[in-house]
């Protein structure tokens, strides 16, 4: 696994903020994520080759967000089959170019040089099993939660599981494409998978599911806070002005994520009828 930096996108980290990794079978290799830039993708391939001579056959991109997907050109160039959910692939192609411009502004052109938005070659619409040679690996499809189609990679041999951005640890989860209710049910399912070590999209590797609360509590809070504001006619200004509430104030990148999330969710919840809003506000943690 290649850990990402727990920071904002900056010229220091070249947008390397997400965790990536790879799994080696007796015949071939599967990479998880492509990283944020062409340069990162190339470095990732080189790092894998320093460990094994076996060919990299697959790269699974868990979802469309730039810090996970924009390095895919390097894998395409190397003849690797790039796997993605079709809705996420379409979203990447549609939204990618504008986001690449934004990323270049944030981290500098020396990092993003050579990066281009390309379409993945293999669509994953339902759970599938790939065999890397005596190493069966599950690719699980979890739709409509964090994004339209998140992929989770579960190595049956070691029990190591890559959760993608369904899981943020120590960092504020982002919700531009999220349905928080569905996301919470996905988290319940992931918690019960037979995993030994869990790699979140952002943050340290997990040995047990207790830190799932970082993601769960935060997205529940966002949903309840914004739905209640829409229901009572509160302005987003009144949510944002006091800043991030104490329990969440320590999460990485929470300030900008909070502002963005409040405006994104507010716009979505504004179109909902009062009964649906009441349901969002009243849904409390089970215990």
């Amino acid at each position: 696994m290649f850990p990402g930096s727990q920071n904002a996108l900056t010229p220091d980290n070249g947008a390397n903020i997400a965790n990536t990794g790879f799994i080696v079978g007796s015949r071939e290799v599967l990479a998880i994520e492509a990283g944020p830039t062409h340069r990162y993708g190339q470095e990732m391939l080189a790092a894998i080759r320093s460990v094994t001579d076996l060919p990299v056959r697959y790269a699974v991109i868990t979802h469309r967000h730039p810090d996970h997907s924009f390095g895919l050109g390097a894998f395409v160039d190397a003849g690797v089959d790039v796997l993605m959910h079709p809705a996420e692939a379409a979203g990447l192609v549609r939204e990618g170019p504008a986001l690449l411009d934004l990323m270049t502004t944030l981290v500098g052109a020396e990092w993003t040089e050579g990066t281009s938005i390309e379409a993945p070659s293999l669509m994953v619409e339902e759970d599938r099993l790939v065999d890397l040679g005596e190493r069966p690996v599950d690719i699980l499809v979890l739709e409509g939660g964090h994004t339209e189609g998140d992929l989770v990679v579960h190595d049956r041999t070691s029990g190591v599981t890559f959760f993608g951005d369904l899981l943020f640890i120590d960092r504020a989860a982002t919700v531009p494409h999220a349905d928080i209710g569905v996301w919470l049910t996905h988290l319940d399912r992931l918690e019960t998978l037979p995993w030994t070590k869990g790699v979140p999209g952002h943050g340290p590797v997990l040995e047990d599911p207790a830190p799932f609360a970082d993601t769960r509590d935060w997205i529940r809070f966002l949903r309840r806070r914004v739905a209640d504001a829409v229901r009572t006619g509160e302005s987003p200004a009144e949510i944002l002005d006091p800043g991030v509430p104490t329990p969440y104030a320590g999460l990485v990148e929470v300030g900008p994520t909070f502002s963005r999330a409040v405006l994104q969710l507010y716009r979505r919840y504004e179109t909902m009828d009062p009964a649906a809003l009441d349901a969002l506000v009243d849904q409390q943690p089970p215990d």
């Binding site: 009572t232 302005s235 200004a237 009144e238 944002l240 502002s259």
Partner: protein, 257 residues
Amino acid sequence: MRSTMLFAVAALLITAANAREVDPAGSELWEDLSGAYLGEDAEVTFDDSIRLMMADRVESAHEVPIMVKVPHDLRDMQEIVLLVDRNPIQQVARITPHRRIESVGMNIRLEESTPVRAAILDQSGIWHVATKSVLVMSAGGCSSPPPDGAVVAAVGDVKIKQFERHGGASRLKVQIHHPMDTGFVVLEDGDVVPPYYVETVRIEDEQGVIADMLTWAAMSRDPTITIDLPTEGQAVRVSGNDSQGLSFEGSENAPVM
């Protein structure tokens, strides 16, 4: 000796403050802004008791929600004016309330990092100004094309919603469907989108006019106006005109019995 000097310095500061208060945001544009929109000889005081609520760091500069909470002693104001120092359109709105209002909110455009001002004219003719400095992360709220958004209603379509607050008080939320084009957006083919925006808004109910507003394109597309009243509005009606002479109006839906 030392205390005498301190006293002298303090006295000097007080004299300076009486002449013209120092802008807490330290903006070199403030003097011109104040002169242009509050009056050349206006008496102006910076007033922390007015709460200007908004995020202090903004990414979506086309639509920045703000809310001004008016303190008790200013609720019988003559006028409230919203200004943005570093916008090509500095004046956002001028609101003349005809009854006591407790707060005013709207969504506005910010071109770049800037102080934002809410100026309230009290009954004695003094302007009380609240200031908040805002960091704009992606500039161009007035001069770049807006992010995509589904256009569903006709221009001038008005939506009115009323929310209960404590003790019989209410919040009135009015949304006017309108592009609010600033005249500063240049499209890829070089064409300039001409200015086109709501100019006047009147909000009234059975008891008479609640507020009259003059507005400019520094208000966001599909502007939302929020007004807090001490009592519930009765059969609220909104009317207005835009810069091409279109008149629009809308009424609150009759309450479901």
